[in-house]
C-alpha cells in the first residue's frame, strides 16, 4: 500500500479529486476517512456512485482507517486519502496512518475562520492541529488542483495575516 496523496477537502469526493488529482497521482483507490459519512448509508452510496468503475472507494470511520488501509482491497493500490478536517487528519495520523505530506485542498469558511487563500479558511484549532502534524514530521502544502502552485502552509499563513 502506498498513499500517493493525503488531502484535506471538506467536499471529500468531488470534481477536483476525480478529474484532476486521480490522473495526476495515478491513484486507483480512494479512501474517505470520515465518521459522519461512514455512519450514513445514503451518503455512502451517493459518494460511491460519483466514482467511475476502475477506481475503488473505501469509506470508513477514522478509527478503522488504519485497518482499511492494511486490508486486501487497498494493500497493493495507490491510495488517495481524503479527510474533511484538520482534526480528522491529525487523529488518523496519531492512529498510525503514515503519510509524509498533507495537501490542503478546500477548507471552507465558517464562524471564527479566517481566510488565507481562495479555498482555505482556518481557525485557531486548525492551525494548532496542522502545527502538531508538522511536529510529527508531516509536510503541509496548500494546492487546490495539480496545475496550481504548491505553497507551504506556513508561507500561506504568513503572507496573508
Amino acid at each position: 500500500m502506498s498513499i500517493v496523496l493525503a488531502r484535506i477537502d471538506n467536499r471529500l469526493i468531488h470534481g477536483q479529486v476525480i478529474e484532476a488529482w486521480v490522473p495526476s497521482v495515478k491513484a486507483d483507490c480512494i479512501v474517505v476517512a470520515n465518521d459522519q459519512v461512514a455512519r450514513h448509508p445514503f451518503q455512502r452510496v451517493l459518494m460511491e456512485a460519483a466514482v467511475p468503475r476502475g477506481i475503488r472507494v473505501e469509506i470508513s470511520a477514522i478509527e478503522q482507517i488504519a485497518a482499511v488501509l492494511g486490508s486486501d482491497s487497498c494493500r497493493n493500490g495507490r491510495v488517495l486519502l481524503l479527510f474533511a478536517s484538520s482534526e480528522d487528519a491529525l487523529k488518523a495520523h496519531r492512529a498510525g496512518v503514515d503519510f509524509s505530506e498533507l495537501n490542503l485542498g478546500n477548507m471552507h469558511a465558517g464562524d471564527g475562520k479566517l481566510r488565507y487563500s481562495c479555498t482555505i479558511a482556518l481557525d485557531a484549532d486548525d492551525i494548532e492541529n496542522l502545527g502538531r502534524l508538522e511536529e510529527d514530521g508531516v509536510q503541509i502544502v496548500s494546492q487546490c488542483i495539480p496545475s496550481d502552485r504548491r505553497q507551504p502552509w506556513r508561507k500561506m499563513i504568513r503572507t496573508t495575516s
Binding site: 467536499r11 470534481g15 486521480v22 490522473p23 478546500n106 481562495c118 479555498t119 488542483i145
Partner: protein, 229 residues
C-alpha cells in the same frame, strides 16, 4: 478602430457572463466567442481561425470547483478583435496576423485570473448584505443583490478584455511588421504546434486508462486512411 473595440466589448460582456454567472450555453468557449466577435466586426472567418486555435489548446481544461483557469474567453474575444481591427489598420489582416494576435493575447489572458478572483471576492459583500437583510426579516432585497453579481462579473470581464486589447494591439503595432513574414512562412507549422500541444494537454491530464494507446491507434488509423485514399 475604437468603434470596433467597443462593439467587440459587447461580446466580451455577454460571453464573460456566460462563462460563470449566467446560462452557461458555452457562448464563452473560444470556438463560439471568437467567430461571434469576428462576425460583429465583419470577418467571421478570422474569428473562426482564432477561436479554433485557442479551443484546440484549451480543449481539455476543466473549470472545476473553486479553481480559476486563465480567461480563454476574453483571450478569444480580444485576439479576434485585434486580428480584425488592428490587422486591418496595419494592412496585415490574414491568418498569419491572427496567429500572432492569438500568441500575444494568450499570456495576457493570465490577468483574467486576477479579475475573476476580484469579482468573486466582491460578490461576498452581496452575500453579507443579503444575509443581514434576511436576518432582519427584509425579504425584498436578496434577489436584486444576487443579480448585482452579474455587474461585478461583467466589469471584471471588461477589465480583462481591455488589458488584452490595449496591450495586445500596442505590442502588435511594434512587433507585427517585423515578424509577419516569418510567421506567414511558419503558419502551417504553428497551427500544427497548437494541435500537438492541445492533444498533449488532454492526454497529460485525463483520467482514462491507456489514453495514450487509444490516441496513437486512432491517429495512425485516421492518418493511414487519409494518406492512402
Amino acid at each position: 478602430m475604437l468603434a470596433d473595440y467597443l462593439m467587440a466589448s459587447v461580446v466580451a460582456v455577454i460571453a464573460g457572463l456566460d462563462r460563470t454567472a449566467a446560462f452557461q450555453f458555452m457562448l464563452s468557449r473560444p470556438i463560439v466567442a471568437a467567430p461571434l466577435t469576428g462576425l460583429l466586426l465583419g470577418s467571421p472567418l478570422t474569428g473562426l481561425q482564432v477561436g479554433a486555435l485557442i479551443e484546440l489548446l484549451y480543449l481539455g481544461r476543466l473549470p472545476i470547483g473553486a479553481a480559476i483557469p486563465p480567461d480563454d474567453t476574453q483571450v478569444a474575444v480580444g485576439a479576434s478583435a485585434i486580428a480584425v481591427s488592428t490587422g486591418g489598420a496595419l494592412g496585415l489582416a490574414g491568418f498569419p496576423f491572427a496567429i500572432l494576435a492569438t500568441l500575444i493575447a494568450l499570456p495576457l489572458g493570465k490577468v483574467g485570473q486576477l479579475f475573476d478572483r476580484a469579482a468573486r471576492v466582491w460578490n461576498a459583500r452581496l452575500l453579507a448584505q443579503a444575509e443581514a437583510d434576511i436576518n432582519a426579516g427584509r425579504l425584498e432585497t436578496f434577489e436584486k443583490l444576487h443579480l448585482r453579481g452579474m455587474v461585478h462579473f461583467s466589469l471584471c470581464s471588461l477589465g480583462t478584455y481591455a488589458v488584452i486589447v490595449v496591450l495586445g494591439s500596442l505590442l502588435l503595432h511594434g512587433v507585427a511588421p517585423l515578424l509577419i513574414e516569418e510567421v506567414a512562412d511558419a503558419a502551417g507549422w504553428l497551427t500544427l504546434a497548437f494541435v500537438v500541444l492541445g492533444g498533449a494537454a488532454i492526454l497529460g491530464t485525463i483520467n482514462v486508462s491507456r489514453s495514450m494507446t487509444l490516441f496513437a491507434a486512432s491517429f495512425a488509423t485516421a492518418f493511414l486512411m487519409l494518406w492512402l485514399l
